[in-house]
Symmetry: D3
Subunit: 146 residues, 6 copies
């Protein structure tokens, strides 16, 4: 078993606001991240794929194919976007780092080359904050219902 | 003459859109940065101050005072904000990196400790794009008039 | 199960010297790190917390609370300190990266939000040296007895 | 159980080309990495060792010994080299990141201090591409036979 | 006057060897960089352009045009190449960082948007070694004659 | 004219305390940096040398010689040291970043290869604080007299 990691970047804006909390509760919980007009980040996403090394190629999976998959499924849909408004697969999702990485997981899982599986996704919101997910314990519920 | 540099960070959202250009011209010029609902960045600002080293303290300027000045004048007013909407001193300013750094310059210039002068301000929008300003050639005109 | 990571920094001085070794043994073992008057580092600490994502908030744990906990329990007590002399919870502890991270673990473990557990602590002494701990195999014995 | 990580760097050139594929297949699979005259990278290798912390020293393993081992076994043999031509232990190995890290593993595994074991090796080819290996599932077959 | 910086990356292999020095002199001067089969780097190039900020756009120069120019003139011609063999404009040039940055300067100088001028080019061969050039003192002679 | 930069690192401890100020004045001025038992940093020093590129070698100055000079004159004397106690050339010098970089300048200035001159020295105390010096305006007075 070998693991490969591909890193991609995108920049986006978002606002943290829960539909099931009051205005004051949102302010207390999210602080400056609840600013009504939003703010933004340069996000860094690290995607780790596990598989066997093919002796004929020396590769777990063609890194170019992995890059293309990540761009098609994720980067092209979130880069230079407002995550609360512009992204179909994030409708109704509070765009915390946790919910983003769980949503990205669903878009890539099952689409890798044969014999490969998604091992981990790491999403950095800044140099100081990150969330990572390994697909453990069933799908994360990313939608909040009012 | 000695130079000291203090680095601060903030995250914000913005949209590049010029009031004197048509919708199509804006799309062509700014590309994805013209997205109507905006996007965002983790900005890094480096502020360089020039002055003599005081023999009694070994310092050009108290770095804590410089940090406090930058937070009061800049970071507290732009961090976790929408630069097109939330920031008074950016009203009517297209928030390109060039215009931002020129605007920040005005907020700090002349407020340093006696004997010190602002030498350079560098603003990184991402790892790949940066603008810097040295106060050369008079004040930069940052406002676009319709 | 989701994992969140918070990164904090502090700078401190230390000297590596074991009370159960002779002066020569200490010099041979620790080399320049045994310098009697000490040296120092900019440390980077990454703290990883595991838990379920709360659907109402989209968060594993309020990152602000995690940051406050880390500052209160660790950063405020070690930042700009001499780790051999100034820090009560490090009395009698050889301040290697391994012993530091095991000591920090004890200060945070059990103090997280309900439903969360400490998954890993990573302490970088420099860009080249790091130790991490996952709470495996019982508490690490960090005190050397003469 | 505690984990320590040592990071080393080397720069080298390589060409990706499989002896069991046709010229066209190689071009399609490896793209620009198949350039006949090669290209190169600044590689970063992170080696993670697991073990108990010795109470007398506060260390899992003498980091100096680990560094010396890595330099002797790996860095001195690949730094400023052409990985396809100059390195004996890579003869017949397609120098992908996966094959390199598996080859490095064999050179270090079993040579650590008593009580320590190799936990993970991470090899960064660039800021965007990395492979890591944990010794799972038997030895990786790194040689392609024509 | 405002300055903008665009950063691009490429990876390439090279060998340092002067045609006017003996084999031994080359070995002594360049050390490991004289390895006959070459080695390689992940290069980082920072290009700084000076100009006035246009009030209608808030920009010194369209960053997309600058990026396209750098890719067309430099990156596409050196990325994943052997700098001693594959690159027409480097024929007969010892590919030191100094000679590379002077050669790149010639490819971009005079091709910027009206009103802009090339201010500085910085080329990092690794985290530890860099050369920069400001076009001072006439063109650098990059060709060694036997 | 071409510029080359060499980056070196060292770690050291220090305490900021001025002999011409009272205890309270020192506490107010230097804050946590006045801690009696000191603290420390991983310092990064960037040394920039200006000169002509020699056509026969493609180099401004042999980087290996520059590295050796920096190690001999600076790194070997300050690495893993207490800057207030262990370093002869810093006796009586308040070890601020400004005073350190001015002191380092004196140790290297005039010792470069023929035709080269020291252009700039940049010393990072942390990612956020830096001082640089260009030899302007005569020698900086680094000694405080009681």
């Amino acid at each position: 078993m070998m693991y490969i990691c591909r890193r991609v970047e995108f920049c986006a804006s978002h606002r943290l606001h829960s539909p099931v909390l009051s205005g004051t509760e949102n302010e207390v919980l999210y602080g400056r991240c609840n600013n009504p007009n939003g703010h933004g980040h340069n996000y860094v996403l690290e995607v780790i794929v596990a598989g066997e090394v093919a002796p004929d190629t020396g590769m777990v999976m063609d890194l170019k194919k992995l890059k293309d998959l990540l761009e098609e499924q994720i980067v092209d849909r979130v880069d230079h976007k407002n995550l609360n408004v512009d992204v179909d697969f994030l409708k109704g999702v509070i765009p915390t780092t946790e919910n983003l990485v769980a949503s990205f997981w669903k878009l890539v899982d099952g689409k890798l080359s044969p014999g490969c599986r998604l091992h981990e996704m790491r999403l950095w919101e800044s140099d100081n904050n990150m969330a990572f997910y390994r697909g453990e314990g069933g799908k994360v519920k990313v939608h909040s219902e009012k």
